[in-house]
Amino acid sequence: MSDTPHSAQTSAPGEGGFRRFLRATEIDPRLLGMLGALLLIWLGFHLYGALVLGEGSFLTPRNLWNLSVQTASIGIMATGMVLVIITRNIDLSVGSIVGVVGMYTGLLQVEWLPPSMGLGNPMIWIIAVVFGIALGTLIGWFHGLLIAYLAIPSFIVTLGGLMMWRGMAFLASSGRTISPVDTTFALLGGGPYGSIGATGSWILCAIACAGIVWAMMRGRAARKLHGFALRPMWAEYVVAGISAGLVLIATLIVNAYPWPKGILKDYYAKLGQEVPEGAFVAHGFAYPVIIMVVVVLVMTVLMTRTRFGRYVFAIGGNPEAAALSGINTRAMTVKIFALMGGLAGIAAVIASARLNSATNALGDLDELMVIAAAVVGGTSLAGGVGTIYGAIIGALVLVSLQTGMVLIGFGDGSYRKIVIGVALVLAVYLDIVYRKRIK
């Protein structure tokens, strides 16, 4: 190879081995910190279960699979909240948008469409999904207009939205629960049938690993083209190896979680067969999780590889400078809130599909979880700083705390709220300490 591998910055003498490792691999230490915290929480719940209750039930394929599904709707919204908070805004209305969108998509597919299209028409779920995303986008766009062009603070606009859309959700059905939703639509919420199975998961795993290698080779080629410092080859292998390893572990876990007996019976009964001896059908990745991964990829590309993403960061860093650079900051604000609304629409589809019903309480208090997820994931309320992957890890941390407390027998709401509240403040404090130290 003609290029000389050396790290971007010259390594300082006396630097510890771990620091040198981080520098060579260019891994964000905050990412490691967040993953470490997540792992600690998981181990903590598992060990508590194992030692105190006699059965560790957190680090089991079943619980981790459930965790992935439960994180999907919060995680999807948290990726949008990152943009909102980076631009020094806030969106308190996302939980209520989930409520109102869930309710209207529920009414659409249960009461409005079936009489004319026929119950179970394969177009119904598609229309419902498109409608849900469009309605969410429209609501977000409307909020954005009020914030950008009438200069009403986002806190106020979305606080108003929080109350108003929740009220609309109730009025839309006079408080009734709309159930059950279209059977195909319900698959988007996960469950044994709402997953892609073992083979599909392995195919996804292979695609993801190929994607990781491709992305790293492309990055290396681009650096070489302009004669920039390259990561040493061993660092490239380590980063690629760890990333692919995590994908592999996730695949192994979801493929180790079998369908429960009842579902097996139901499945084979439909085929007109007896359940074979020792039948094992794996769940594989659930649809909502796949949707979340796609959202994360799209949002990451949007934030790091497009002008739109650049402008989001620039507006957060210095709104005046952004405007003087010819960026239409008002239009950007409208787009960001519309995007946030659209993501809340997707979350509403997943949440109502998972419940197999639309209730006016759907998404209640989600806004707090979503904001907390973004902030725990390192998004700064002062603006200008935040990452998509951080928000997802933040969502995982919070949902882990929530479900973990239930698993170890502290399921009643009060303990959960205390723990999550403490975790939020602690996470932000640790982040402040970290930022001070790197300065």
């Binding site: 971007a8 910055q9 650096r223 302009h226 002008r307 650049r310 957060g316 952004a322 003087l324 650079s325």
Partner: protein, 254 residues
């Protein structure tokens, strides 16, 4: 050297007025600028210099008057219009996004994209390294947010942004206010070089000595109105100070 025998001015701001809530920040002011010339804009704080110049850079929209570029009247409604006319501005505040690195700031609003429309980060960094190598060879911090840079380094990023895009008209709002002596000298040399390349430069400056050294002409404003424009080599420091403080044009330069 009188302006009549130099053909069409590069920029003519004719009879510009702008008011904020009844206060006339700029009141029927006319100034012009020729290629290869530095025109100093002077006056007290609040005299209207920055406001006048923001009408040219697109940050404000004039209430009345005309802006002519090479004799053609143009409409400048926002910073993009100004950039389209090859007008670049170095603001007093520098207008940098502190959380972004030098390359991101340099190309802010004009990012280089590849054939798929994605931002070409490595190419932008390579271009930034090239221009910074020319303007400020000591500049090495390409991968940190500009908040981590010194005042002079930040200034060179702001200057690089104005110079990179082939400005024909450059507006500098107190470019040396935050700089040390060495860096001030670098800016002075840069202004001379850009002048030789045929750029027209509006320089807002408080320091009379810098004005005498760098500018060809000086336009003095007071309370939103133009006191007068003088050829710098025909007047003394005291004449200009008199214009700034008393609002009186010296008799001999009339």
């Amino acid at each position: 050297m009188t302006k009549e025998n130099r053909g069409t001015p590069l920029v003519e701001l004719r009879d510009i007025s702008i008011a904020f809530g009844g206060i006339k920040a700029v009141d029927h002011v006319t100034v012009d600028l020729y290629p290869g010339e530095v025109v100093g804009l002077l006056g007290h704080n609040g005299a209207g210099k920055s406001t006048l110049i923001k009408c040219l850079s697109g940050a404000y929209k004039k209430d009345s008057g005309q802006i002519l570029i090479n004799g053609q009247e143009v409409e400048i409604n926002d910073p993009r219009d100004a950039r389209a006319q090859n007008i670049e501005t170095i603001y007093q505040t520098l207008a940098l996004a502190d959380n972004l690195d030098a390359a991101s700031n340099l190309f802010l609003g004009r990012e280089l994209v590849n054939k798929w429309g994605f931002v070409d980060e490595t190419k932008m960094e390579a271009e930034t390294r090239k221009i910074m190598g020319r303007l400020n060879p000591n500049f090495k911090k390409f991968n940190v947010p500009v908040s981590a840079l010194s005042g002079g380094q930040r200034q060179s990023v702001a200057i690089a942004r104005a110079v990179y895009f082939n400005a024909k008209i450059l507006i500098m709002d107190e470019p040396t206010a935050a700089l040390g002596p060495h860096e001030t000298q670098m800016v002075a040399e840069l202004i001379d070089e850009l002048k030789r390349q045929g750029l027209g430069i509006f320089l807002i400056e408080h320091d009379i000595h810098s004005v005498m050294k760098l500018c060809d002409r000086a336009s003095v404003m007071k309370n939103g109105q133009l006191v007068g424009t003088v050829n710098v080599n025909e007047v003394t420091d005291d004449d200009i100070l008199g214009m700034i403080i008393l609002g009186k044009k010296p008799a001999k330069a009339a």
